[in-house]
């Protein structure tokens, strides 16, 4: 396979992977309004746990890490997703009941830093700053895949996983559960006054979104074969925020578009460009600036994103539904004018048309 196609399939992989990551953050932030600034931490936990679930016992690898279960794909990937959800459960229990919006965001970004420091310094957990490496490539030996052929193969695997997760996410966001999550996003006080246990729904959103984060992280470590703290600096969370803001907060298709524009075109494509002579690394710096400028332009001129949140019209909610009388013929009837008996004794009080 030529280097060109190798790069193309690498880009395709990142497109699908960040599509998954963006869907996870979107249900938390775009649908439920949870400003999860620790999102990359859940991605990292998913990556590490997928890695150690799929790797052999640490004693044989020369690395230091927990578990080493030697489980096949996709079981290790599911373990990665569930581990991220388990962390989300703990975090939600501690934070979501008491904290809202900006305070929650501050605590979560602190959590991200703490997770980063622990993984970077506590070697027995995930091999410290060196991170995990020599992570087995799924199906590589069974299908006799070479380094070159593994890339398109795993890009395809990521595509299948993304498709499955997109199907599940669509079902959730289109359901009454998705509607309730958006109600909580718009006004948690009103949602609570309507009988919705806000914490329960926020917890559901955190668990589902973090599962997506964990799976996205798990795919990353399986694709690259390694994962260490430099791969998930806490600031990476904001790249995923950029994906969903550019794509369109609250729209799953927008997540794919955002992943294409931000992750694929703006982050990974320039990495394959030849360096500017005499200025090594300059392209990366320009790239970072371009992402910031694109984000500002989007927030200023098109805050709803490239693919805005869909207005869920009545036909969309239940395509074959027609109200009794055929829909359009249902006209506002206004109130029943109260009878004297119902209104209590006394003269009619309703304001006459001429007084309006």
């Amino acid at each position: 396979m030529s280097a060109f196609w190798y790069y193309v399939f690498t880009l395709v992989f990142f497109l699908f992977d960040y599509f998954i990551l963006a869907m996870g953050l979107n249900i938390q932030y775009g649908e439920t309004g949870i400003l999860n600034f620790a999102y990359i931490g859940f991605v990292a936990i998913g990556a590490y746990m997928t890695g150690v679930a799929g790797m052999p016992n640490a004693g044989t690898s020369g690395q230091h890490y927990i578990l080493g279960l030697n489980l096949p794909f996709p079981i290790n990937l599911i373990i990665g997703g569930l581990s991220a959800s388990a962390l989300a459960f703990l975090v939600a229990l501690i934070t979501l009941r008491r904290l809202r919006t900006d305070y929650l965001a501050m605590v979560l970004i602190s959590l991200s830093l703490v997770l980063y420091d622990i993984s970077n310094n506590f070697i027995p957990l995930f091999n410290g700053a060196d991170g995990l490496y020599n992570v087995p490539e799924p199906f590589a030996s069974a299908l006799k895949l070479t380094t070159n052929s593994f890339v398109p193969f795993f890009a395809g695997v990521a595509g299948v996983v993304a498709l499955i997760l997109w199907f599940f996410m669509s079902r959730i966001t289109r359901s009454p559960l998705g509607r309730t999550l958006r109600a909580i996003r718009d006004d948690p006080t009103v949602a609570s006054a309507l009988g919705k246990g806000v914490f329960r729904y926020q917890l559901t959103s955190m668990l589902v979104g973090s599962f997506y984060a964990g799976v996205g992280g798990g795919l990353l470590i399986q694709f690259g074969g390694s994962f260490n703290p430099t791969a998930w600096l806490p600031g990476e969370t904001f790249v995923i925020f950029a994906v969903i803001i550019v794509g369109g907060v609250g729209n799953n298709v927008g997540m794919l578009v955002g992943a294409l524009v931000v992750e694929t075109l703006l982050i990974h494509l320039p990495a394959f460009l030849p360096a500017i002579p005499g200025h090594p690394g300059l392209i990366e710096y320009i790239d970072t600036m371009v992402i910031g400028v694109v984000l500002m332009i989007m927030l200023w001129f098109r805050p709803q994103g490239i693919v805005p949140e869909r207005v869920r019209r009545s036909k969309f909610l239940l395509p074959d539904f027609a109200p009794s009388g055929g829909g359009a013929v249902i006209a506002p009837t206004g109130p029943a004018i109260p009878t004297e008996e119902a209104a209590g004794a006394g003269p009619p009080f309703f304001i006459e048309e001429k007084d309006v």
């Binding site: 599940f168 609570s192 006054a193 309507l194 919705k196 109130p335």
Partner: protein, 274 residues
């Protein structure tokens, strides 16, 4: 259940009490917003909660609905002690409320605002979404049918697919009330439902409130429009300086010098009784 020191009539004269509070106190940074408010709200009647600005009416509604915790005192919904319960639990017991400034769910359509309202929906469970799709569809159909009927009644049917944030102030008032009706509450707290709406709409909203009573709901409404209070409310509670000053019919309260001094005189002199 309770006795209001200077009341002229109690809800017992009308029917049994369905909502009551006793000696509710609440202070904000040392300022007493409520200072022992005590009253009963009669079942299946329209009760007005009136009083001067700063009397603690909205604070009381917030406490009754669970949006705010009281410092002391008790509240009962029927025979159940709901003191300082979380608002969603009180709502599930059948108490709905509206807000002084309309709080629509702006990103949702008008129809969706109503569809959120049924308190417990099978479609809000992940399990049901994936494993019981037919149940969801059946439930959704029933809810949409009921929501469209309510929207038609409230004159919002043509706006069903508009985002709620696009509505006018009066339409938002109607949406908030119709959303509460969609939840089929037993007790409905309305915080100034007539505030900031045109006279014709006041007429309509008053009619809707009478409809609620016909449907078996109990309504407690904060209202400054005494013309409306006099005509549609069966019972009136006067709150002043965080305490229940008096209760009874408005015609009776007009003869109470303390009420006149604390509130009615002020309203009459301001010329806002009509």
């Amino acid at each position: 259940m309770t006795s209001t020191g200077q009341s002229m009539s109690s809800p017992d004269a009308f029917s049994e009490s369905i909502l009551s509070c006793e000696n509710i106190t609440k202070s904000f940074l040392g300022v007493n917003a409520l200072n022992g408010a005590t009253f009963d709200v009669p079942k299946n009647k329209i009760t007005a909660l009136i009083g001067p600005n700063g009397a603690g009416k909205t604070t009381l509604v917030n406490i009754l609905s669970g949006a705010m915790k009281s410092d002391s005192g008790t509240t009962h919904l029927g025979s159940v002690d709901v003191t300082n319960l979380e608002s969603y639990k009180i709502a599930r017991m059948g108490l709905m409320r509206t807000f002084q400034l309309s709080r629509e769910l702006g990103g949702l359509t008008v129809l969706e605002n109503l569809l959120v309202a049924p308190k417990v929906q099978a479609g809000e469970s992940l399990f049901n979404i994936f494993l019981r799709p037919r149940l969801l569809q059946r439930e959704e159909r029933q809810n949409i049918e009921r929501a469209t009927e309510i929207l038609a009644t409230y004159g919002l049917y043509e706006l069903r697919d508009n985002r709620a944030r696009e509505l006018s102030g009066g339409q938002k008032k109607l949406l908030e009330i119709s959303r509460g009706v969609m939840a089929a509450p037993t007790v409905f707290l309305l915080d100034e439902p007539m505030a900031g709406v045109n006279p014709a709409l006041i007429d309509r909203i008053a009619g809707y409130i009478l409809d609620m009573k016909r449907q078996g709901m109990t309504v407690l409404m904060i209202e400054h429009n005494l013309n409306v209070v006099e005509k549609i409310c069966d019972f009136v509670i006067v709150l002043a300086e965080g305490k229940t000053l008096a209760t009874g019919r408005l015609s009776e309260l007009r003869a109470n010098p303390e009420v006149v001094q604390a509130y009615l005189g002020e309203v009459i002199s301001a010329g806002t009784t009509n």
